[in-house]
Structure formats: structure tokens, C-alpha cells
Point group: C2
């Protein structure tokens, strides 16, 4: 078993690598809310443990072993999030922070029980995919709502879970994963996007729209 800090770093590197082409020390440090110096120290350690490929000044990436652990942690996290939402009715804007603590104390046995009770789910409450036990994840190429044009129809697949304020806002508008919609209007110059879903019109600013990942239907 690795320390919580090691697990957190691996998870962070994995997540950053998904959306940045180079994971730098300072990016990682900012993400984890530590100083770059602390991140440097941990990166050396991760390299030492063969969990990350790291060359000074050149950024970092995960080794296969590191990625495996990262995916295990993410699997724990997302299973717990879903369990909290489904079984304990924790509102979706709070599951993230609770799961952040639980993911590190979940035994494999309990993971299996939760997985079974939930019926081997494939996505967490925000629509993020739950990695398999063996470390495979479905990673469909998604658009964000800002990529669409008036007239297009789609379905919400996932929403960013980093800001709970955003989640409350979306929840209040009933914009959850699986929600279908039609784009009615896209105002120019990064203006608001108007959509129709569940028979009501909703107007979203472009920043919010950028946090909503969709699939065209």
C-alpha cells in the first residue's frame, strides 16, 4: 500500500495528462495546492519508485505501474461517489470531497461489495467513467457544449466536478448526465448558449457551457 500523498500525486498527474500535453512541476503543484518545491521532492520519489518518468525541467508522465495505481484510486473515488449519491443520498455537489477521503481507506473487498450493489456501474454521478478493475477506461472523445451550433441535438455525458458551486447551479437547472437537449441559439463572441431540454429553455454562459461535455445524437 502506498501513502495517501503518493496516491494523490499519481491521480493528479493522470488527470492533468488527460487535458494538458505536458504536465509540469508547477502545474502539478498548483493543482495539488502545494509549492513547486514540494512537488519536485515527490516527483523524485515517484521516479525512484518507478511510478513516474521524470526528468528535471522536462515535466512528468506516469509509468505503467504508476498509471495502474492512479486508475485504481480513480476507480475507488468514482465508485464511492456514486455509492454516496445513490445509497446515502449525498447531494452531487458534495460527493467529491467525501470521496476524496474515502478513496484511500477502501479495501478491495469493500470495493467489490459496493461495485456489486451498484450493479457494476460505468460512470459516476458527474458522468465520469469508472475504470475497470483491471485498469481499462472508456475515454470517448467528447465535445463541450461550446463546440455545438444552433439546431444540433445532443445528450449530456459528463460535467466537470471540480467546482461544487457549478454543480449546484447545474443541478438547480436539472442538467445532469443523460439529459437530452437541442441547441436553440449560440450568441457570437463567446456569448450565451440557449438550449431546450425537458421542455424548458435554458440559457448558459460560455464558461459554464465549457464545463459540460456532450455527445451529438
Amino acid at each position: 500500500m502506498h501513502t495517501q500523498a503518493v496516491e494523490d500525486y499519481l491521480k493528479a498527474i493522470y488527470k492533468l495528462a488527460e487535458r494538458e500535453d505536458k504536465v509540469t512541476t508547477s502545474l502539478l503543484a498548483e493543482f495539488l495546492d502545494v509549492t513547486p518545491a514540494s512537488a519536485t521532492g515527490m516527483l523524485k520519489k515517484l521516479k525512484q519508485m518507478n511510478l513516474a518518468a521524470y526528468e528535471p525541467y522536462q515535466g512528468v508522465s506516469l509509468t505503467e505501474a504508476g498509471q495502474k495505481i492512479a486508475l485504481e484510486v480513480i476507480r475507488h473515488h468514482r465508485l464511492v461517489e456514486l455509492y454516496l449519491a445513490e445509497a446515502l443520498n449525498v447531494p452531487w455537489d458534495r460527493v467529491h470531497e467525501e470521496a476524496e477521503k474515502w478513496e484511500h481507506v477502501l479495501s478491495e473487498d469493500l470495493e467489490d461489495r459496493i461495485d456489486a450493489i451498484l450493479g457494476h456501474p460505468t460512470a459516476d454521478p458527474h458522468g465520469a467513467p469508472i475504470p475497470d478493475r483491471d485498469g481499462t477506461v472508456a475515454m470517448p472523445a467528447l465535445s463541450t457544449l461550446t463546440d455545438l451550433e444552433a439546431g444540433q441535438k445532443g445528450i449530456i455525458v459528463e460535467v466537470s466536478d471540480h467546482d461544487s458551486e457549478l454543480l449546484r447551479y447545474l443541478g438547480a437547472m436539472n442538467l445532469y448526465p443523460e439529459t437530452e437537449f437541442t441547441v436553440l441559439d449560440v450568441a457570437p463572441f463567446n456569448g450565451p448558449i440557449t438550449i431546450r431540454s425537458e421542455n424548458s429553455e435554458k440559457i448558459l454562459g460560455s464558461e459554464v457551457a465549457g464545463y459540460i461535455y456532450v455527445r451529438l445524437t
Copy 2:
């Protein structure tokens, strides 16, 4: 929030004080599986924080503040144990170790949800009382099975949860809390005790019988 080590020490002191008239450094150290020197260090710290009354060479006891925290931790632990057993079907000989990890990451909000789902229970799967939110515990004076004589009837209230081997043994015999029984025979010289419960006779060695807490009916 206190560190996990602080919480563990407070809980240990509370539990030891229940059954020993003096909680010494070495007793505590043995219970927590650390060296007496380490325990001394933590006791100084707990005194410093006003959580424990401690005089060198004189043993330790909890202050009111310390006891409050200890009871909160124990409440968390026992609620989680029960939840694991009821909701996730974790066998009763394993709930203790899982709860040991969870008790430190349980938010008050989640505690409330679990408490409500379980219907505000008063005892964990081993029959140990669950402290109230405000820190009150029912502490009935219990006998152990070894205190009884042939012919007496009783009900199992609680069993010791420290040894999972014991729990499996008792579980195999269906001797859970709430089980009613009649003492048929008590062999002399700490010999085996024969009881009848659920229409079958069971013979228990005196060591095992000493771990079973009962109430006469």
C-alpha cells in the same frame, strides 16, 4: 480536527479505563502496539492539549474534553460497523478492522445519514452500545457467562470484538447478541459451560465464556 494518532490514543485510554482501575503507560502502549516511550510522548502531548490528565509514573485519565472526543470516535466506529454489517453484508468478524479506518474520515453529515438509515441504533453488531451524539452512553453492569450457575436463564448482550477468530467461532454457533439461553451445566475448576439456545446444546470453554457478556432474564 485531531490527528488520527490522537484519536486512537483517546479511544484506547477510554476503553482501557472501562476495565482497568489504572491506565498505565505500558498498558496503553501494549494495547496500541507501540513502545512505552512512544506512549509517554503522546501522553505529554495530550496533557498539553488538555485532553488527558497525566502525571509521570501515575497513569493517565481523560479530561472531559478528551472523553468527549473519545466518545465521538467510538460512536463513529460503531455506527460504521453496524452499517457495514447491515448495508454491505460485511461479516461480523471483519467489520472491526474496516471501521478502524473509516472512523477517522467520517464527516458529521455522513454520520447523520448513516444513523438515520439505520434507524438511530443503540448497539453495534457485537452488542456494544453506540454513544449518543451528545456523548452519553448506556453502560449497564453486565455479567459474563462465567458468572452464571446451572439453571439460570439469560440473554447475550455483547461479545468482545477484539479477536476475529473468536467472532467466527461464535458466529458458527449462532451465538449473537440478543440470543436467549439457559445454563445447563457449569463444570468445576473453570471447566466448560453448557448452555441451551435455539433448541441446541452448546459447550463453551471458560475462556470463550468470559468474552460473552450477558443479562439475566
